[in-house]
Symmetry: C2
Subunit: 291 residues, 2 copies
Amino acid sequence: MRIVRITKELQELSDQERELGRKIALVPTMGALHSGHLSLVELGKQYADSLWVSIFVNPTQFGPTEDFDSYPRTWEADVAACEAAGVDVIFAPTRDQLYPDSAQTWVDVADLSQNAPGGSRVGHFRGVTTVVSKLFIAAKPHFAIFGEKDFQQLTIVKRMVLDLGFDLEVVAGATVREEDGLALSSRNSRLSVDSRIQAGVVPAALEAVEGKVLKGERSKVNLLETARHEIEAAPLASIEYIKFCDPGTLSEVSNKLSGQVLVSVAISFPAGDPSGEPVRLIDNRLLNCTE
Amino acid sequence: MRIVRITKELQELSDQERELGRKIALVPTMGALHSGHLSLVELGKQYADSLWVSIFVNPTQFGPTEDFDSYPRTWEADVAACEAAGVDVIFAPTRDQLYPDSAQTWVDVADLSQNAPGGSRVGHFRGVTTVVSKLFIAAKPHFAIFGEKDFQQLTIVKRMVLDLGFDLEVVAGATVREEDGLALSSRNSRLSVDSRIQAGVVPAALEAVEGKVLKGERSKVNLLETARHEIEAAPLASIEYIKFCDPGTLSEVSNKLSGQVLVSVAISFPAGDPSGEPVRLIDNRLLNCTE
């Protein structure tokens, strides 16, 4: 396994792999790898010969009051996990490789990033699409593997790939969950013990919503009430949003749900670390609201 | 010579050339080719084995009141000129190849595009950097050749390449001029007969400014007066701007010029065509204002 820190070096490696006719799959991550990431690596193996994982905690997707500094960083364990998973290349660029002095170029998927419920984090998706563009330009992969856990991000990245014409295919991997249904996230490690116990309400709320939909409920107001009721069972939970959107445009749907609807939530819990920055968990479910 | 209209097809061609170890140079144009463009093709031959010219009148870099519709389009002559110049590939994408339905992704070089005198054309440089990114992603060239005539554009594209990490080298070609000094431009063909005669004041103004600088003048106010005086000799000329900037940041310099200073002008003349849209000519000169 090779560890590459310089963009130019990665580009040369990509050219070499391509000259040999080998297909490259890139799994972009911010490190603190867990089984969710590793399931994306396994998925990549079905498509490509050479498995690349990028590890970079991207400063431009964190808001000024968010947890950039306290975001978990577990470099040694990440390297071991990649080695064990059969990863061929880790791209762990230094900050100046992706953001040279006076960097000022942004890639912005305008409408989707604004519509998306997570777009309330000002500049978040612009930071994501900017760094993902840079990673694509650095790795020149044939496949890029993203998790469905951040469904909004997945939708926005797909739109960017279509609009800019990147010569690669975006592949989506299913969310991996703990026994109580909590979606795996690098941020879970930041939860206090009590927060971790109570965080099970996040998937439980989505489960309850889907249950109601299966029984015929189509009222957004009622489903919102269902979700809120589940989450309020956890006194430590603080709701940032519970939104019902069109999975294509990410804009909020009207009260009567129909067709495919994405329900997304962002719920915060107190951290176990002394940073004081709450742990923001996201999850989502695609609801089939056809008659 | 091949004519390619589909991005995916161009990407495959690029992969093939790269597998054969051949270097590609791309000359992005909006067509209506003249000797200025062809000098960029000649320059490209010094760097690359395979010479590619893109021809696309990019709607997103024109303002709503600008000359997108009346911009000259001379497809047959362009093809003949490329053939004669030994061009290997013309990439002439249909609009939907670069801007698919609901396209909404922008590439923006924030500070430079705002600082630049030409940034007063709202969204102009964002349109340029967006389409140039798409052309780079489509052609995957080793070299991209741009003219120095639009020095601001050149500076902004170089910044974008650095920031996003595009795996290519930007090469700049000198401005080609008519006998009276007028910089070649596709838009010159739109000038009325009288406008064309008077347009010689544009390079004359820059020449006069440089003459004063060589004699020791360092006052922006005085040099501005020199340029304005020259241009006002042409009654048809209408000054959009005459600006003195730092060639690196494109921000306006203070009154006492020092070091390298870029003087850029945008001057409009009446068109010879019935569109009513004036013909906007740009030119610039790099002034050496060191002591």
